[in-house]
Symmetry: C2
Subunit: 197 residues, 2 copies
């Protein structure tokens, strides 16, 4: 795929950048549903200009979110770099949820994740593949219970996203305690049979 994108006029390029900055900020503060008019206003640009550059909300998210999701890759790397597979697994989850608790938009994206714009959705799937390696490593080491699958991670993300949302203002960090409870149920030695289906 050659770069089919013509070079933007200088003012257009500036406005596009201002929009991306504004969108990144506001999405982090207020989530994926932030009114596009607010984004345009913070960028110091009219709503029409926003629609020139990003014809749909998804287009804007597709331009903003992948960068935020990339932060997750670092967390994954660090987790895999941990010599102890279990500690790495824990570090992954803590890093992941720490990111979510700092960015409303990321929290939303990982919740809706797979119902979203192709760009975002694909990034989520890629992230999940990486996560799978972390999970398997901890299982092979005999530390993580073997019946914990990737879908269970998705479910855990759903769960924690809400804890983060609800406690963000009143008790930030409450999610760490909740995660600790959950982790105690994920150790191999804690495992009891799961309900069938």
């Amino acid at each position: 795929m050659a770069a089919g994108t013509k070079p933007l006029r200088s003012d257009a390029a500036r406005n596009r950048d201002k929009l991306l900055v504004a969108a990144t900020q506001l999405i982090a503060e207020h989530g994926l549903d932030v009114p596009l008019e607010h984004v345009a206003r913070r960028a110091g640009v009219s709503i029409g200009t926003l629609y020139n550059h990003f014809p749909t909300r998804e287009a804007l998210l597709g331009a903003v979110m992948p960068q935020r999701l990339a932060a997750l890759e670092q967390v994954t790397e660090r987790a895999l770099a941990d010599p102890d597979p279990w500690d790495g697994f824990v570090a992954f989850l803590e890093g992941l949820f720490a990111l979510q608790s700092e960015d409303h938009g990321l929290n939303d994206a990982l919740t809706q994740g797979f119902t979203l714009a192709t760009d975002v959705s694909q990034a989520c799937h890629r992230g999940l593949l990486d996560a799978e390696r972390i999970i398997e490593r901890a299982q092979v080491a005999g530390r993580l219970r073997p019946d914990f699958g990737t879908q269970d991670l998705v479910t855990l993300i759903w769960a924690m996203s809400q804890v983060i949302r609800e406690s963000m203002n009143t008790a930030p960090g409450a999610w760490r305690r909740c995660l600790a409870f959950f982790l105690d149920g994920l150790r191999t030695e804690a495992a009891h049979p799961l309900p069938e289906r």
Copy 2:
């Protein structure tokens, strides 16, 4: 408190009932945010009439939700009736979340719960007191880890409410598996130290 409410005219009483029935149904189907116009329409009544009977959304919720929340009391009773304190604790959680998964409105109410109309909020608090007895009984029996408090139950409800929301259509019952993981972390023997605040 004497009944300060004058008897309604027969048609008014009928309409009030129709509104309550419609609201109960639609709230269960679509959650607490269901448009009031929809409620009026399903009740076969004009929007004005709805506002005659329930001047605010909270008034309507205050009339509808306590009855739904009462279903929870039965769950609590049955849980306390279980001879095994741990089984009772588990039955309580399963009963609670089963109710939530059948009623979008109840799910919302227990999530927002304490940010809500006084009637609903009070019912939530009362429910929480009952739950405390279940928790303590399981702890005294040495089955439930002693560092699990009422606030942790609230957090768990937040978490599961989202799992229920997300999986309701695609994989109803997914919450049971998630709960099983969590429960395995709540057993006394699974307990590891929690992060200090």
